[in-house]
Amino acid sequence: DVKVTQSSRYLVKRTGEKVFLECVQDMDHENMFWYRQDPGLGLRLIYFSYDVKMKEKGDIPEGYSVSREKKERFSLILESASTNQTSMYLCASSPTDRENKFFGSGTQLSVL
């Protein structure tokens, strides 16, 4: 089974802190994604990557950056966390852009 692992299930940070969310997949997938999930808004794409060191902006990239130095790892970075970034963050991977995505269990981030 494909496994997508997110490093933390719950995270509490202070406003202005730099936050790293880590995601690792074990199936050699080319594509990796970061979404945030908010009640009533569904899943919104922040960034995605289709290869090592390659990235593209999703629909809501403001306030976020990403890093993909190795194929299996995709990191989401909040340079200066703000309270409106309190959310559930979901990482996903897929073998190609036309195949299904495998999601991690999510990181619930609270910014105080």
Binding site: Y35, L45, L90, E99
Partner: protein, 112 residues
């Protein structure tokens, strides 16, 4: 543009049927369906590509009407295990197929 899902929520008794709709204002290349149980990662159900095909397995199936730019998910003889939030994700012509836009979800509750 986020696809519109309807209904927003539905409550069923075991054995009853349900239909969840997903409509887009843009021409669709593909539609993906996922189910997310409370506190868990979204899980892939199926992908439908242009051509008006209908896919499914067991008692969950879906159709894709390219002309109407919509997809419907059919759950027949529902079971308790069908409870969760169902999301459609759409990929449009001219857009990156990686950039699925998800709807806001339909909450399905199946009661004994």
């Amino acid at each position: 543009q986020q696809p519109v899902q309807s209904p927003q929520a539905v409550i069923l008794r075991e054995g009853e049927d349900a239909v969840i709709n997903c409509s887009s204002s843009k021409a669709l290349y593909s539609v993906h369906w996922y189910r997310q149980k409370h506190g868990e990662a979204p899980v892939f159900l199926m992908i439908l590509l242009k051509g008006g095909e209908q896919k499914g397995h067991e008692k969950i199936s879906a159709s894709f009407n390219e002309k109407k730019q919509q997809s419907s998910l059919y759950l027949t003889a529902s079971q308790l295990s069908y409870s969760g939030t169902y999301f459609c994700g759409t990929a449009t012509y001219g857009g990156a197929t990686n950039k699925l836009i998800f709807g806001t979800g339909t909450l399905l509750a199946v009661q004994p």
